[in-house]
Symmetry: C2
Subunit: 215 residues, 2 copies
DNA sequence: CATTCTAGATCGAACGCTCATTCCATGTTA
DNA sequence: TAACATGGAATGAGCGTTCGATCTAGAATG
């Protein structure tokens, strides 16, 4: 386990977490957790401040001491959500055996994508990004950082296997790689009876084919 | 071009379209077109009946002569959206050369998935399905029919190539196949600068690997 | 240690607005 | 004339947000 970090958007690097325990930080976390619950159940626009405040165990007005408005809550969730992914990719890249770490995380990633609760919120976030420019900016910035991190990881893996790819090829491989995972999030909503024991090996095989691809 | 058809949910088969031109049908279509526009821009819960009625060029109250409530509009859009896909798969299966038809449609499908406007609404629909049981039921029923149709198509293709797969394997291949396409819908929102000229061939190659897969 | 002070935490009523929906008067068609 | 199409105001509920009143914990003071 790496120490807790977060992504510093201004300086574009990971920073150690100051592990805040102040009352304010606790309250903020309470609100965010409650909001995640509500957004999962009713969507961004369907969930009301009143609902969120009830779930967080405080008055509606009090929410506004910690967040400027409802959209700020959305942004905070999106940001923290994607920060967690950045930590994950950083962990993979800092492992001794990058390939092993990656393959291990693949199984983990598939499981997470196939969890309907997680997938539902992720889809809500992307759908919101498709029309809310503010959310779109956060989502796209973090996505770019993730892709860059994955590109570096993939370049290492491929180089060890004797391939020497240019950046455009690597970027395309990352696109298809990520698309496959994100596609699972949609599948788990559209089909609740996925036969995991057959689908997961097939999926992993397709991933391996992609990673070992020769032009 | 096949004649216009729609999917009869009760009898589980395609039916010829009665091509209605009555005033009521025209009005309904107007409302649905306006609603699609509004939902794209503001989401299901963000778009109001008043907005939709303005876009459709009629009064808010009049909407309720054609749809019981707002959710009925959502359902009608989802249903017609997915019916169009059912028509597409039926078209592929009825082609002389199924493999050729399929590969041609693949390029078409990639283009459609990479269009942010189309993708945005599809994601909105899936996100809504992840929490609205009524929408979920429509989405899942249609998805199942699509998968069955794709399974038949894929069985033909694979059989011609000397493979004889059992149903679970075929179902899994369909899952991964569809997941890849649906993943593109998310990618086109998260990354607006996808290099199509490199990504699409790589994506098609990955698809071919999947279709020619040997266990 | 006891008291006072103060700044932040917290509440919940209130505001202005918009929403989905209803309803009835009016217009249109056959 | 009868049946349907349409408009638009009315309704009541709920929304995001604001705001002033109260509470509380802990520093400052004596």
């Amino acid at each position: 386990m790496l120490p807790q970090t977060h992504y510093d958007y201004e300086n574009r690097q990971m920073c150690p977490e100051p592990v805040e325990h102040s009352r304010a930080e606790v309250r903020r976390a309470q609100i965010l957790a409650a909001a995640v619950d509500c957004f999962r159940q009713h969507g961004f626009h369907g969930a009301s401040i009143s609902q969120i405040s009830k779930a967080a165990g405080m008055s509606p007005g009090h929410i506004y001491h910690y967040f400027e408005n409802k959209e700020a809550i959305i942004s905070a969730i999106v940001a923290s959500d994607l920060e967690r992914f950045l930590v994950l990719t950083a962990e993979i890249r800092s492992a001794c055996n990058v390939r092993e770490a990656m393959l291990a995380r693949v199984a983990e990633g598939i499981d997470q994508c196939l969890d309907p609760l997680t997938a539902g919120l992720k889809l809500e976030i992307v759908a919101e990004a498709s029309r809310n420019p503010h959310v779109a900016e956060i989502v796209r910035t973090a996505d770019q950082v993730c892709r860059e991190s994955l590109m570096l990881t993939m370049r290492d893996m491929r180089h060890a296997a004797g391939h020497d790819d240019d950046d455009t090829t690597l970027a395309a491989m990352v696109e298809v790689f990520v698309a496959m995972f994100e596609g699972l999030q949609i599948r788990t909503i559209r089909n609740q009876d996925i036969d995991r024991s057959i689908v997961i090996p097939l999926f992993q095989n397709a991933l391996r084919n992609l990673l070992d691809h020769t032009p």
